[in-house]
């Protein structure tokens, strides 16, 4: 029900936004009437994201850790990874899983700023990187708990916007499929409820998105240029 009410809210916003278009900014922007008093919400810290590019199709495993969570990921090039509600410093190790000299290149981005790059062309080569000084952090004893992942598999190369939320916190994300969104330490309120709303920018095809919660595929969508996913 919560989501239903929210969906109605999103629908109103969507209609208004789409009809208004560029008038939004010329009118002084949405929120001009300020009925919801948006000015009181502080900025969140910048999101950290990663792009793993190189020889398309190269399989890899990656281990990402921030100050409170570890994620193990397997995928293929290219893949974008975004940590929502991140907690730097952040460390990443990307390991090629193939015996050839194909290139794998790791890019670490904080907010919109490229922080560093690393790469390997070795067989089963490793690319490592970090955001922030990681000398003094210890690997957390447990993996992300809960481990919440939104995997936007397609349409390939689609630029999309997403709103990712738990019961007390929401963040916007812009990325390009395929992209994996990791939700670090969502609030336990309401049973650890999480949800996300996705909106395509380029309309290259229908969304293909999975929500994986603690390793279990709990919801998939395979159509449309907008999509809503939730758990709990």
């Amino acid at each position: 029900m919560f989501w239903f009410l929210r969906a109605k809210s999103l629908g109103r916003g969507a209609i208004v936004a789409l009809l208004s278009g560029l008038l939004v900014t010329s009118c002084g922007g949405f929120g001009g009437t300020n009925t919801t008093n948006p000015g009181s919400t502080p900025n969140i810290s910048a999101q950290t994201s990663f792009r793993i590019v190189g020889e398309v199709g190269t399989p890899f495993s990656a281990r990402i850790s921030d100050s409170r969570s570890i994620w193990d990921i397997q995928g293929v090039v290219p893949l974008s990874i975004v940590i929502v509600n991140n907690s730097p410093p952040i460390r990443i190790s990307v390991n090629k899983l193939v015996n050839d000299n194909s290139l794998i290149s790791l890019e670490i981005i904080n907010a919109f700023s490229v922080q560093s790059l690393a790469s390997s062309t070795s067989t089963f080569g490793v690319a490592v990187g970090n955001y922030g000084n990681v000398a003094n952090i210890k690997p957390p004893p447990v993996k992300a708990d809960p481990d919440v992942r939104f995997f936007v598999k397609g349409p390939n190369a689609e630029l999309f916007d997403a709103l990712v939320e738990d019961s007390v916190h929401g963040e916007i994300v812009e990325a390009r499929a395929p992209a994996l969104i990791l939700f670090d330490s969502p609030s336990p309120e309401n049973g650890g409820r999480v949800d996300a709303n996705f909106t395509a920018v380029q309309f290259l095809g229908g969304f293909v998105i999975d929500l994986i919660y603690d390793g279990v595929l709990v919801q998939s969508v395979m159509a449309g240029t907008t999509a809503n996913l939730k758990y709990h």
Binding site: S9, P38, S49, G57, S93, I109, N136, K153, N156, E174
Partner: protein, 751 residues
């Protein structure tokens, strides 16, 4: 929360409206794009090749990398055309990620909050710029294509290489032979020359060509834009906190008019392939079903280039094509002759069969003519091929598995079915299509409206014929599956479904007791398992040793003892090695400072058994003795180098590292460079061969020099030395009085 949601919804949905207004959908970059090139456009493939003529210190570095954003082209004949002038065309270098449109801001006129900009007045929606790091060491004397894009078919004269302005590159120096010097084998940032008074940061590195890159007459080819990059590398660092100066320059490797029709041009760093495709489809080739020809690195699924037949072929049943591909130079005689680079070629389209050719040798500056034996595609139904890959022990989906659909080259073999004790895939088998599984094991990953998904246009095999599907995933047995046609859909054997191919991958388990020789965690340890006596790694995993812990067991997937090796025989034993992932000054490094732990010839586990099937009990092995010894490095030159040769570093019979040599024709041909912990090893020169690389001569022993303590200036009034970081320890002994720095080992040559 609901209020916040609606505000965010507005922000999210306004941004697309604004962005869409500024978007153009043409020029979607994808090297495997199968759409026909529009009439007014030509496809350009960005290729780089490195040179170190302006980098006399290059031999002092193990790795030299540039952080590349894009290549820009301008048709202006003014070499100094403004970076902000019109007509610039940008081709992003990372493939498969599309263009980055930067940041769009939605001004709210109020403190909106919850965004990731530094301003409290705007909601910023966007993405960071896509970049790719290119190792110039890996592209010496042989060009490499990174991305392709359809652009307006003009003649371009001005070319720019756009690097990351903040960190244009990274370098890894070898251990120094003299002091003062910074630590070797760690990552340093590169920087452009620092000139005072401070000028504006250069946007890019530029070159001008009066003859230019002519796309106006290149509608029927993918035109490579070969850019030679010299990093202009400065001196190695004198302190571990230094940046290393680079002053890159580029030159265009020009396409000169061709002499062999229909080759429109030749390029000294590319070879060309001419071929003919025939079809029996009524009406011939048609624009609605573009006929593509794809070149892959021979024996792999790595696509180098894809192009479609030009519009002029429409309505014809026979048409010619020409491909330009990166190629090594000719070797007239002796080891490695005739030189060049081998490719597999695949002709494919909707509604027709595959036609393939294996192991086509291409030599730089030369033409390979295949027209005498056409690629014959015939009318055939094409279908979508989907399915799922499972772990045989757990029935859980396998992530990131690779599925290669093999098709026989009729000039070499009639089938790609596995044969006991023979190499798989058999000689002459070409990867016609390749796909990967997603996070739950389903394949293929989606495509989009412009680029179809892998396996979405698979022709049904002819009656009585089959394809072989080779499935690989780290830690699992390499698994072949026969794919046949069954009533208009594809069927896998063995499988449980028709139309969707469900595949079980077998594997075993290995419990590795990892222990440090000294010290405790927190520490990350990489553990690798490889076929015994080879460099063929089967799985690699990362283990966290928690703080205060010096050893712990870890269980990983490894192939079982029925896993077919490259020669077709089962691999019944594995070699293991482990290395720590060390930090230097708070940043993880690729080169470890702890000695490697190795264990050779560990019996591979039995395959799953029982009902229901379950993995056999794990095989137990030990990897111990990782001790902080510091970095070391070794380099030199091998005899009789061939472009695909490697040097392998081994310890106690376990192969640990394999590095390529500098290919013939390049400055320093035969050179190699290795970073490894200061320990004793053997080095072996290997030549590429099928099914295994073969040693060239015997191994040579080497002991890498140990680090030395380089004194730092004593404290004095107004000067307090900063403690030196170490590769293994956050605060090495005597860090306040000296820097523990690795040192060069005498070159090892002539093997």
């Amino acid at each position: 929360m609901k209020d916040l949601s609606s505000r965010w919804a507005v922000a999210i949905l306004v941004a697309p409206v604004m962005l869409i207004l500024g978007l153009t959908f043409s020029g979607n970059s994808h090297r495997a794009a199968a759409a026909q090139t529009p009439a007014n456009k030509g496809v350009v493939a960005v290729a780089f090749i490195s040179s170190f003529q302006n980098s006399p210190n290059a031999a002092s570095f193990q790795r030299i990398m540039l952080n590349v954003v894009s290549v820009r082209l301008n048709p202006s004949t003014d070499p100094n055309v403004s970076d902000f002038a019109g007509n610039w065309v940008t081709i992003g270098v990372p493939a498969g990620v599309g263009k980055s449109f930067g940041v769009g801001e939605v001004s709210t006129g109020s403190n909106f909050g919850g965004n990731f900009s530094s301003s409290n007045n705007n909601v910023s929606i966007g993405e960071g710029r896509s970049e790719i790091q290119i190792d110039l060491r890996a592209i010496q004397n042989i060009a490499q294509i990174f991305n392709a894009q359809a652009i307006t078919a003009k003649t371009f004269h001005v070319f720019e290489l756009v690097l990351d302005t903040a960190t244009p590159g990274n370098v890894v120096p070898m251990c120094p032979g003299g002091f003062p010097a910074g630590e070797g084998c760690i990552n340093y940032k590169a920087q452009f020359p620092q000139i005072t008074p401070t000028p504006p940061v250069p946007l890019s590195i530029r070159t001008f060509s009066a003859s230019g890159l002519d796309l106006s007459n290149s509608q029927h080819v993918v035109t490579p834009l070969v850019i030679q990059v010299d990093p202009g590398l400065g001196a190695p660092p004198t302190a571990s906190s230094d940046n290393v100066q680079i002053n890159p320059s580029i030159t265009l490797v020009t396409n000169t008019p061709g002499t062999v029709p229909p080759a429109p041009f030749i390029n000294q760093d590319l070879g060309s392939i001419q071929g003919t495709i025939t079809t029996n489809v009524t009406g011939g080739f048609v624009a609605a079903r573009p006929q593509s020809i794809t070149a892959r690195v021979a024996g792999t699924n790595n696509i180098v280039e894809t192009q479609t037949l030009p519009n002029s072929c429409n309505g014809k049943k026979t048409c010619e094509f020409i491909l330009y591909l990166p190629a090594a130079a000719a070797i007239p005689s002796g080891p490695g002759a005739p030189g060049g680079t081998n490719y597999d070629l695949v002709a494919s389209a909707k509604g027709v069969s595959y036609a393939v050719r294996s192991n086509v040798n291409v030599i730089a500056g030369q033409d390979t003519d295949l027209r005498a034996t056409p690629f014959a595609v015939v009318s055939r139904g094409t279908v979508n091929f989907t399915g799922k890959v499972f772990d045989l022990c757990t029935s859980v989906g396998v992530q990131a598995a690779t599925l290669n659909l093999l098709v026989p080259d009729p000039l070499v073999t009639t089938t790609c079915a596995p044969v006991a004790a023979k190499p798989f895939p058999p000689a002459g088998c070409v990867v016609a299509a390749s796909a990967a599984t997603d996070e739950v094991g389903n394949f293929p990953l989606p495509g989009n409206g412009n680029v179809p998904a892998p396996f979405s246009v698979v022709p049904l095999p002819a009656t009585g014929k089959s394809y072989s599907l080779s499935i690989t995933a780290a830690g699992f047995d390499r698994t072949p599956v026969a794919v046949t046609a069954n009533g208009g859909v594809l069927k896998c054997t063995p499988t449980t479904k028709t139309g969707a191919c469900n595949i079980n991958l077998s594997h075993g388990l290995m419990t590795v007791n990892v222990s440090l020789g000294s010290g405790t965690g927190p520490l990350n340890v990489l553990i690798a398992a490889e076929d015994t006596g080879t460099n063929n790694v089967e799985n690699l995993t990362l283990v966290n040793l928690p703080g205060g812990v010096s050893s712990m067991p870890f269980t990983m997937n490894v192939p079982d003892n029925l896993n077919p090796g490259a020669d077709g025989n089962s691999v019944t034993a594995l070699d293991l090695f482990a290395s720590t992932q060390d930090l230097f000054n708070g940043s993880p490094q690729q080169a470890t400072g702890h000695s490697f732990a190795v264990t050779a010839d560990v019996t591979a586990p039995d395959p799953p058994s029982g009902s229901p099937l379950a993995c056999a009990a794990p095989v137990v092995a030990d990897l111990s003795g990782m001790t902080c010894v510091g970095h070391g490095s070794v380099g030199g030159n091998v005899d009789n180098p061939v472009s695909t040769d490697t040097v392998v570093l081994s310890k106690d019979g376990v192969q640990i590292q394999s590095v390529p040599i500098v290919p013939p024709g390049a400055s320093g041909a035969g050179a190699y460079a290795i970073c490894a912990p200061a320990d004793s090893y053997t080095l072996t020169h290997y030549a590429q061969a099928t099914p295994f690389p073969t040693p060239v001569g015997g191994p040579v022993s080497v002991t890498l020099s140990a680090p030395v303590m380089v004194p730092t200036p004593a404290p004095s009034p107004g000067f307090t030395p900063t403690p030196c970081p170490g590769i293994c320890e956050v605060s090495p002994p005597n860090a306040n009085t000296g820097c523990l720095t690795c040192t060069a080992t005498s070159p090892v040559n002539g093997f």
